[in-house]
Amino acid sequence: MASIPADKHGTGSVENLPPHETYRHAEHFRNAADEFDAAKMGVWLFLATEVLLFSGLFVFYGVMRMLHPEAFIHGSSLLDWRWGLFNTIVLLLSSFTVADAVRCAQSGDQKGLKRNIVLTFILGTAFLLIKFIFEYAPKYAEGKLPGAFFSYPNWESPYEPLWWGLYWGATGIHASHVVVGMGLFIWLYIRAKKGHFGPKHYTAVEGVGLYWHIVDIVWIFLFPMLYLIH
């Protein structure tokens, strides 16, 4: 977010140096440190908006659960907590690899940086595949669907369509964040391959890393709320 491509300002008078060595900050900042701090602050503010977005969702969950606890308890019992736990582990691992990517960028380990970006991407893909193949697809087939599309025969509370609405809504919005993250990792990988990141300049790696952590944290809340509380 808000990082300036390294080739924007001047073409680097020193031959054969990677772009991250010759990076020049955007002209309206006094120095690169200010630019880095500003970008980081921008990302944190953006994360604050994400937290508030999901807080709204959690409040909806709380209110609906209070109104219809029986629907939520039965609905929740139809989820397989093992897939939820497995995906939690997958995402936590990806949080580790993305943190390691930032460390590699800071220490100039280009190989490690690229490896960690690829690993994080693979873990994100795994999360989505598990979600779609083992969770979404069977539920879709069984009619465990939101509101008007609900056709699951073995319901116990007439308000279960509401539960499925929140389940699909919450996990869907979270999954869309994962997809955005994957796009960001592709972008990071391309830039890392060009040598844009190093000890002097790794703003984008740090920013995407922070974003990925918030995506994980949201899941850390969603997992017990949807799968575990009975």
Partner: protein, 599 residues
Amino acid sequence: MASITDTKVGSHGHDHHHDESFLTPKSTMWATIIDWATTVDHKKIGLMYLVTILFMFLLGGLAALAVRLELLEPTRTVQTMLADGSVKTVIEGQLFTVAGAANVADSNNLYNKIFTLHGLIMVFLVIVPSVPASLGNFFIPLMLGAKDVAFPRLNLASWYIYLIGSFFAIASALVGGVDTGWTFYTPYSTMTDEGHWKVVFMILSAFILGFSSILTGLNFIVTVHKLRAPGMGWFDMPLFIWGMYGTSLIQVLATPVIGITLLLLVFERLFHIGIFDPRMGGDPVLFQHFFWFYSHPVVYVMILPGMAIMSELIAVFCRKKVFGYRAVAFSSLAIAAIAFVVWGHHMFTAQGEVASAIFSALTFLVALPSAVKVFNWIATLYKGSISLKTPMWYALGFLFLFSIGGLTGLFLGTLSVDLHLHDTYFVVAHFHYVMMGGTIIAFVGGLHMWWPKMFGKMYNEFWGQIGFWLVFLGFNLTFFPQFIMGVHGMPRRYASYVDEFTIYHQLSTYGSWMLLAGFLVHLFNFIYSLAAGPKAPPNPWGGLSLEWTDADSPPTTHNFSHDPIVTHGPYDFDDVVPPQTKPGEFPLPAPLPAGARAH
């Protein structure tokens, strides 16, 4: 200022191009258009926002005039006649789907759609972005002594997002319009227009505009934190910046909540998830809570920028330090904080008694920081050297209108009184006195004060003041009668009314025409000034903030020909400016000796 251009310094050097005005066109027309469309210059983005917002203001204003026209007579007027076919128009049957409809119900639906359109355009497309995105974008970096906002490309992105959001709003109107009111209350927004895209388009529009709003706010917060000129501490900033900072905080913290709410509303419409539908166990009142948890803070996103401009207008045209700088600065933050705990006063009839009593009490708290500001501005006027130019007239107009708007808000915050007044024209008059009498009046005043700085041309003072009086009197004529008929029981959002309200409605409609005349005078005055106005000096009003003292009119592409250093406060008129020799004069601060700015 010309006298110090020889002292320019900068870490990357300057070529000749950067010393030109940012308005200088490129060699060909296409090059100029592409330059503007891809610019990351906060000044150009601010102007592009200004033009689009003024265009939307025109659209929203036309809808308002249509509403007033319908209300000119108790029952049958223009829209009725359009509906029953007694008036033929070229747009009949296309713009509004009422062709051939021969009953009153259809014309009432049309009325509902037009006031909804008015509300949606004015709230989401005009007032929320108005001051921050246009004047804020242009002047925050200049006042801070920065070359740009922190994230210039996000800034441009926010403008394009605004355009996309506007597109959806207008598309929704063109395919038939929505009649939910600007609040999208469920079940209006989920039950009406079944199977159609109009409501979804409109909700998407508000959702998309939210991103634009968040990006602007986020950008400003980081800019204020990281890009202040050397020597400018938090309490050396012009109060405009403090107001904008409070605004931005609310934009960033409140908008995501409406984001998730509108998203769920779209899900509700598309997939019937039932969250707002009592038949499926949902709760329609929950929508109101979430809507107002955003939309009440956003009321302060609308008024805080007006207050921010006020501090500058009063200081510059009274040539005096703003009384109680810190109190004014902190009251902006206090308003931003209280904004988040008063949403329930929009729902006195939709929640329990205890909750209503608590929200009523909290609501009164808002009056405190608002009054701190108003009293401090009045104290600033005392013994100031007041120059009654158009911007100062607007500042005085703000004090008058905002005081009425603010005080009538207390009526509505009082539970027992609100029982009688809620959903009447008293409410309509109240929020127009705050939103229009506050924000729009300050916006137009600020536009006049900063016009010479933005375009390098002076506007015509005589016609500026004629415009002011038309707007000011027209405004009061439009909205003051609405207080009276509201107290007498005229409900809002009705297309027809009983005969006894006729005189108030007619006065109100005549007032709306006067308002139109006033704004047209301003518009032609501005256009004439661009075409043939006298050239503006860098500091026509003798202001002391950096955009006046250190930048050209219009500013150069890089804002300053040197890196500004702050040597005095934005309002230290007593210390750095020689006293007036005759009233109405604007003595300039003494220029620093050459070389003093290099560091």
